[in-house]
Symmetry: C2
Subunit: 446 residues, 2 copies
């Protein structure tokens, strides 16, 4: 981003010269997302300086680009009136996101102090919804047309709402009671004569969601049907709001981040620039679980101390056994994760497990075969080569099953199945691998 | 999806009764994505039966919902003329996606046989672009208005293109040479008088991409600025096409899938319903790399056989050491992955590494401390407890660094950094952990 870097330097100069007019000029052509990116690179004094020289509408939009922590840190030093002024400049969904983390008392004060009363009423209606539901994602800004209107009346409504509704995706068609009937595109409005009835041109076949549906259901629906916008209705079918695709893009991105965190054993939504203790605390839980796994493993191997004294070379292959179990387990659960993400429907569980078994059989034979050769080449006795390769074979079969079944069970229990691809499966498979290895050795050796 | 299940059963009955009219009726109200979902549940004979009873436009749209393999399998049995008929029904970007996997000769035949000649020309222009670039994502269907037109002329153009351009996002404003100047929203067109000049109402401040920019750059841009559409221009700034947000949603989803595959050591784009050998082959490369890691580990431990004979209990803690190294490494690289995904700019590498070191220090002291206690409780000698906990401490520090640096280096080398969170880092850290463990033991013990 060379352009941003240039701007960044110009702004630093302006700050050094205490030149607010120049900052307002520089940032005039910048998108709020760019201003946000620039602010992230500055210290607090510089940030304050920039934010003070910007128009209040711009500051409000820049705030929506901040992550929640940074947003709340900024708002903490502001009065209810100042916050109300920012909220007045925002779309209802962004306003609600900003208000939710505040105390209930603060929220009520802010809403009471807002100048735009209709927006204040909209916000009051939106606040009760959980952030991860359709109700929590929706905004109130939209064009709503009565089915009995004609095109001219519809255009009048667009004109009336023009300032409030910046981006028009579609026009929602409702009856006298506000029940959602369908949708009419702007293209149809433009191409139809002024006296055409909306009833004659609107499309009835329309997808909508209820307020309580989850953000993941919303994202799946919009992705599956390539929708730019999705109306939200209550139980009676009354139109309450709309969700736009850009919010859903954020949901999809967040889901991918969450999955990455679960797969890598990080327990909270952290970022590299969080402080030391946040970073440390987010990582400790999985490290401690892994540690207990390791200590259990140590205790388990301890049971076979006599075997190890007799055949010390058995210890050489412990990492091979545990690593293979981990790798196979993660591969298996990742394939299930993908099926779950793509909503592939599984009719036949036994057929699926047979396939898992057959793939494991092929890979197990290949890997065990190569390892058998290597152990012989290393000069170890035939019996040890047999133990190692047989154990490896069993571990590959077993880890395939645990890796397949764990995410399916987690998903049934409404727990994020990505958890199964994290250190969880590695730790469990380590123990499983050790058990298989030492028990195989017992049977063949001692 | 209970509704789809019902439809599914009705269709099965219709097929059993050989009733094509009934199938056409049932599928009439279904979205192509739903028809595709139903087809996936059927055998080939049933699939053929359904596809034969559908209108050609519907079949073409259903085909775009297929994954590439299924699409090409279906097309294999069709003549060039039949494929040309499908292509005639599609938007240019979908048409190009369908044509690209065909042989060059087949492609040329199909394009030559198309009825819609303007679409055929568009497709010929789009075919040369790589699928993962802006050129490969763009479609030609869009409304283009000359800056010298007035609103009425613009509406005439929309009317003229109405059939070709189903969804209108925005109207692109160009000069006489076709150079992109800006954008005008449908809202502005509706609210302006017929004789208003486009020049007076269009917005100049507009983002665009060049054909060669990558799909990831496109996705980042659209996500960052909440764009529904992005115009694509050539080096001269001439408007060539547009990319819509729904295509970018697919790009984002694919990126997340790719990352998951890299993190879990699966080497190709596979799905659960692929055949045994595809599944097996996609998993083998990483298993074999892991296996060589394990064999190297075995050889390495072999160097310390004498130490193991003296202190067999050392073997107990091998899994603890390797697992902790793996977990810490994956956590570290996952945090970097997140920073890279969010395009956080890192100015100060030494500051970042200092932070990594400090977090590792805190977690290392805590984990090593707990483990020290447990080894003592297990009744092992003080010296062994010291070796295990010290080695663990060093492993946590070292794995934090390798986990941090590997994805950064991969990213600089233009290799997907998610590779660093996969079996790669686990295998490397296993070896690192073993080295640290046995060398620490050598120093303290022998």
């Amino acid at each position: 981003m060379p352009i941003i870097k240039e701007v960044f330097e110009t702004i630093e100069t302006a700050i050094a010269e205490n030149n607010t007019t120049s900052i307002a000029q520089i940032t005039e052509d910048l998108h709020p997302a760019d201003i946000c990116a620039i602010l992230q690179e500055m210290d607090e004094v510089q940030q304050d300086f920039i934010l003070k020289s910007l128009d209040i509408e711009i500051v409000a939009l820049v705030l929506t680009e901040f992550d929640e922590d940074a947003q709340q840190t900024f708002l903490k030093s502001k009065t209810s009136q100042e916050i109300a002024n920012y909220i007045d400049c925002l779309d209802s969904d962004d306003a609600v996101d900003m208000l939710k983390p505040l105390s209930i008392q603060m929220r009520e004060e802010v809403v009471a102090l807002m100048k735009k009363r209709e927006k204040a009423r909209n916000i009051t209606q939106l606040l009760p919804y959980d952030a991860d539901t359709a109700g929590g994602l929706m905004a109130k800004e939209m064009i709503r047309a009565n089915v009995n209107w004609n095109v001219l009346q519809c255009i009048e409504e667009i004109r009336r709402q023009a300032e409030k509704v910046e981006k028009i995706y579609s026009i929602y068609v409702v009856d006298n009671k506000g029940i959602l009937l369908g949708i009419v595109s702007l293209k149809k409005i433009i191409l139809s004569a002024d006296n055409t009835l909306i009833a004659d041109i609107f499309e009835e076949d329309i997808r909508s969601v209820a307020t309580h549906q989850t953000e993941i259901e919303v994202a799946d629906l919009m992705r599956k049907y390539d929708l730019e916008t999705l109306p939200v209705v209550n139980v009676q079918g009354k139109l309450l709001g709309r969700i736009a695709i850009d919010d859903v893009v954020d949901v999809i991105t967040e889901q991918a981040e969450l999955e990455r965190q679960l797969m890598s054993g990080i327990s909270a939504d952290i970022e590299e620039d969080d402080n030391l203790f946040v970073l440390s605390r987010a990582r400790l839980p999985w490290l401690i679980i892994g540690m207990f796994g390791g200590i259990s493993g140590a205790n388990f191997i301890g049971l076979f101390e006599k075997d190890l004294i007799l055949v010390p070379a058995m210890a050489f292959f412990i990492p091979l056994i545990t690593a293979t179990g981990g790798n196979v387990g993660i591969q298996s659960s990742s394939i299930i994760l993908q099926s779950l993400a793509n909503k592939t429907i599984f009719n036949d569980m036994s057929k699926r497990l047979l396939k898992v078994f057959l793939v494991a059989l092929i890979n197990g034979i290949i890997i065990a075969g190569i390892v058998f050769g290597f152990v012989i080449i290393m000069g170890e006795p035939l019996k040890l080569a047999l133990v190692v390769s047989l154990a490896l074979f069993f571990v590959i079969i077993l880890a395939s099953f645990t890796g397949t079944i764990t995410p399916i069970i987690l998903n049934k229990l409404k727990i994020n199945p990505a958890l199964a691809s994290g250190p969880f499966i590695t730790t469990a498979n380590d123990l499983l691998g050790l058990a298989v290895y030492f028990l195989t050795a017992r049977m063949l050796y001692f």
